[in-house]
């Protein structure tokens, strides 16, 4: 699993202050920490970047490149900021992200072609979020065909199905199930294509201390279904260990749960029980509630 480190994100107060005050050290520390923790890319989520767009982006990319040799994922909806970022990257970057929306097709996809970089393309279209597996596949096939015509090959495209919070009243679990299935069939309909997800979205709205088990378990489940990468928190040691082969018994247990095996919880440790219960809510087998580990 290719891990795109998510920690340089303007929503974090420290990051937005550091960018505004040009305090490179804060940003560089985050980049170094993620590199050491095992990230494969560093995501730079800069928001809309309305002021001093180009200069700010160049400063940020250069600051991060001084601290790490990892390739960068430039994460903004602002095409001017995007181009400034891509231009400044020393290694082949990831354009994060484009979508099937007209504006994105006109402004973002040509940049991916121009800089021959990798590009995240989400399933969103002008009509919004496709509600089920079939319409997600349909939307992404259209957008990928468009990208191919621009000269962007499938192997440069990382499809994002858009994860939604599992705790969304009533509906959230339906999405976790749909996205598992979507990832599972994606490569069959679009050979050579890659994929990525904003992993932490799954646990958005869930009490902080309960977020890691959801993120970790879902990553293992998606990885089994051939997910190529995840934008995630590399500082979560257990998450990294799960994907780098450090916890094969837990991975096996999650797989058995996915296969519908009737696992006797009494023979398991507390941690193992939690992974089984979490897999069951993520695959929609038991109804989610914030107390899912307690019942």
């Amino acid at each position: 699993m290719v891990i795109i480190g998510e920690n340089i994100h303007v929503i974090a107060q420290a990051v937005s202050t550091a960018i505004r005050e040009r305090d490179a050290r804060v940003i560089q520390d985050l980049a170094k920490a993620q590199t050491e923790a095992g990230a494969d890319y560093v995501d730079l989520n800069v928001g809309p970047m309305k002021k001093d767009t180009e200069e700010t982006m160049q400063w940020l990319v250069n600051a991060v490149q001084e601290a790490t040799d990892l390739p960068l994922s430039i994460d903004t909806l602002n095409p001017v900021a995007m181009e400034a970022g891509l231009k400044t990257c020393k290694r082949k970057p990831l354009l994060n992200s484009a979508s099937g929306k007209s504006l994105s097709k006109e402004q973002m996809l040509p940049l991916a072609q121009k800089y021959s970089c990798d590009v995240v393309i989400s399933v969103m279209t002008d009509k919004g979020m496709p509600p089920d597996v079939e319409s997600k596949i349909e939307s992404i096939m259209d957008t990928v065909a468009y990208a191919n015509e621009l000269g962007i090959p499938n192997e440069n495209i990382w499809v994002d199905p858009i994860l939604l919070p599992i705790s969304t009243a009533g509906e959230g679990q339906r999405f976790t199930v749909i996205n598992l299935e979507f990832i599972n069939i994606l490569e069959d309909v679009l050979p050579e294509i890659k994929s990525t997800v904003g992993l932490s979205n799954t646990s958005n709205g869930v009490p902080d201390e309960l977020r890691p088990p959801l993120n970790r378990t879902y990553m293992v489940m998606l990885e089994r279904n051939r997910l190529h990468s995840a934008i995630a928190d590399p500082l979560d040691k257990e998450l990294i260990s799960l994907t780098k082969g450090g916890m094969p018994e837990i991975v096996e247990l999650i797989y058995r749960t996915m296969d519908g095996e009737d696992i006797a919880l009494s023979s398991l440790s507390q941690k193992e029980i939690e992974y089984v219960k979490t897999a069951k809510v993520l695959m929609g087998e038991t109804l989610y509630s914030d107390a899912w580990l307690e019942s």
Binding site: G170, G172, T286, L287, Y288, S289, D290, A291, S295
Partner: protein, 301 residues
């Protein structure tokens, strides 16, 4: 060749909850089929029940056509409750609205004394709801539970904010709990999980919030339907409880119901009918005519 209609058989069974004691008792729940799926394998041993609502003070904002059936008794909650019994209600639903700090902020002791008087005066089971103010209910409901010790009433609303203190009092004094969460199946399950850590699941009724027609009814409908499906089809232990649809108050505060009697009866009736279909096990009405009409409808064979 003979045609045989396909039938389903489910694994989940809704817990049967008894409200009240002896001859002053009724049972709700116990079904192992989806609502009105009489063609499937299984049964519903306890047809839906109908409660009439009584307030602990003279209503301030009720239209004349809603007061009319109770006009000589409406200033006296005990007489009002007796009247409901005469009108054929399966249960009386007492709402302690005067305890609300925003209404009269009347004391927990007063409320408890009234609750006990009503419980003793009527020969049908009693359901008691606080004002819904979670802090005040945490004072009022334990006192009510104590005053009615051992009567096995249904008392609520038990909410996320006060389930520990209210739940404990209900347990200590032998009552059932009505667990209320705001229109969300995940929150509803969470509350049941937490409550069940010390409170018996067989004594819990789910109140998913029953919004009125035109005011979010479809949300309540989908939610009740889902609670039933998840309980009966997937056998989720934390949703296999009977459902209460507390809809009278929601319906009669609408502009449409206040305007005109016929419109009001229809508003309450259509809302109730929808929740019947969604799987409500007990319904709370304000107008006795709606209640009688719905009873008639469900008895049609």
């Amino acid at each position: 060749m003979e045609y045989k209609a396909p039938t389903e058989e489910y694994t989940g069974v809704v817990r049967e909850v008894t409200i009240g004691k002896g001859r002053k008792s009724l049972k709700i729940g116990g079904e192992n089929i989806l609502p009105f799926h009489f063609f499937d394998k299984g049964s519903n041993p306890n047809p839906v029940k109908f409660a009439l609502e009584v307030l602990d003070m003279e209503p301030q904002d009720w239209p004349e056509h809603l007061i009319q059936p109770f006009k000589n008794v409406i200033a006296d909650p005990v007489k009002w409750a007796k009247k409901c019994e005469e009108l054929g209600a399966d249960a009386v639903f007492l709402r302690l609205v005067s305890t609300d700090p925003a209404v009269k902020d009347s004391s927990a002791d007063e409320a408890a004394a009234l609750a006990k008087r009503i419980a003793e005066a009527i020969d049908i089971p009693l359901i008691i709801y606080g004002s819904g103010d979670d802090k005040k209910d945490a004072e009022v409901l334990p006192k009510v539970a104590e005053a009615c010790d051992g009567m096995n009433l249904l008392i609520g609303p038990v909410q996320k904010e006060n389930y520990e203190v209210v739940g404990k009092a209900l347990l200590d004094h032998g009552h059932n709990a009505s667990a209320l969460s705001p229109l969300d199946i995940n929150l509803l399950k969470e509350l049941n999980v937490k409550l069940c850590k010390f409170f018996p699941a067989e004594k819990i009724v789910i109140d998913p919030e029953a919004a009125a027609l035109g005011y979010g009814m479809e949300y309540s409908f989908s939610l009740m339907e889902r609670v039933k499906q998840i309980g009966i089809i997937t056998k989720d232990n934390m949703t296999m409880m009977p459902l209460i649809a507390d809809l009278g108050g929601e319906c009669w505060k609408t502009k449409q119901a206040k305007e005109d009697k016929e419109q009001g009866l229809l508003w309450e009736g259509i809302t109730a009918l929808s929740f019947l279909l969604a799987g409500a096990n007990i319904i709370v009405f304000r107008h006795p005519e709606t209640s009688s009409l719905m009873k008639k409808i469900t008895e049609v064979k």
